[in-house]
Symmetry: C2
Subunit: 293 residues, 2 copies
Amino acid sequence: MTDKNDKLNLWVTETHKDIVSMGFRAEETLFSKISEYQQVDVIKTAGHGGMLLNDGIVMVSERDEFVYHEMIAHVPLFTLAGPERVLIIGGGDGGTAREVLRHMTVKRVVMVEIDAVVVEACKKHLPSMSGSLDDPRLELLIEDGVKFAEKCNETFDAVLIDSTDPIGPAQPLFDKEFYENISGLLSDNGIMISQSESPFYDPEIQRSMFSNQRPFFKKVHIYTFSTLTYPGGLWSFGFASKGPCPIKDFDPGRVKDSKLETRYYNPDVHRASFALPEFIKNDLAGLIDPVPF
Amino acid sequence: MTDKNDKLNLWVTETHKDIVSMGFRAEETLFSKISEYQQVDVIKTAGHGGMLLNDGIVMVSERDEFVYHEMIAHVPLFTLAGPERVLIIGGGDGGTAREVLRHMTVKRVVMVEIDAVVVEACKKHLPSMSGSLDDPRLELLIEDGVKFAEKCNETFDAVLIDSTDPIGPAQPLFDKEFYENISGLLSDNGIMISQSESPFYDPEIQRSMFSNQRPFFKKVHIYTFSTLTYPGGLWSFGFASKGPCPIKDFDPGRVKDSKLETRYYNPDVHRASFALPEFIKNDLAGLIDPVPF
């Protein structure tokens, strides 16, 4: 903290549903721009490193981003045997791409981010995430993921929907038509992962998401993880599969052989993340498939 | 929300380590008293029901207390076959006692709460938790748990340390002497559960706790759960055992046979809660024992 800020009580605060708020002590604004789609800010915080906010909603902090990015990437990619082609929708900070690219079997990553300003902000101020965007295996397209999914002719082993909440530019990423198009891009054993909000606060969004996904997949599951920067702490991803089961088809040997160093993910956490508290099972009854432990 | 509050922007806010804060929209103060030990408040919130705060730190909210109380009680009590005698240290709101008393094998619960004002506040304003305190199987003692543990001659199958943070009156509940005395009160197959803080924010407290516990137990484990009202969301309990293993000696049939209705706990969650993210394993290396999945 610089001297001049020692007496400044600066906090960046996000409010959810007007009933709960999270605040992070801030030191200074590193980046602030209004793009075609949203306001994009990077704040230097006192205890959570650099923090990206879109329209005032925390996207990532350097302190805990490893959890989200390890869990969106490694759970599907270690469920598959030798995944080669991965599509990322959103994920402009680069954290998801970074973890995907750590898989040596991956030959090609296409990342479709709608907002060039998010990429610009993260390239300048969050290099530990955005550094991955220069990898030669990655093609970064600045365009609308919904339109991309309509016209794309490639096939992918995994599609990772690393989106914001279903408001603003990300809203159509939660629609039936989009999931149908993504399903069409997947190989016969493909997996789609989708950011699926807070089990405590957003069960109605989850119900809508999963009922929109179900018609186009063999099985739809949900798995959970912990964040420091999203309201309620507990967060989730949807695991929609054309074939592979995240428990039966998961081989912990692949994790060991990869020699990948992680800070959150490991084979025990992989399996445990599919164990659902009773309230989640009840909230999503009939909309998600049980996993065989 | 009453009319008069529609325009009042009232929030109750807790700050942790001066870097993160959690706020909850409030409607009114239901109870506020300074006891011999701490300031005790019950706030009616807009989205989280009644909320108990000791010295401004959130203890429980009606919205999510089921998670904490199911996890502190059912994990040890379903690891044991037919637990009969349970000691609760702290837990003045009554939520832990409520879940313990749902086990039909339990014949006697002794609860030692230091602060009568906490019990008074919860009896008046949080009856869904404190109602259990009238159960004839429960003996409530208003006294210092540390002194109680020194002089007690009874033996218990499980001791649940449902304490506040290691500041103020709860500080000695994290000391070696206390753990040694608790170990002496346990039956040969006894289990001690202790509130063990945030894995993200408080690893130094956890290291101190577990190194203080280890000399007096055969095995010391940690398990995690999610709360809405503690900083960082992810929280933990220590599982210190004189014999039983929370995985090998856990029989899911006991849960089924009990017909106990839960909102968070179930056999899958029981096992999954012991699966530790890499950063927790690293932070507590050498201080906790691995569990055999």
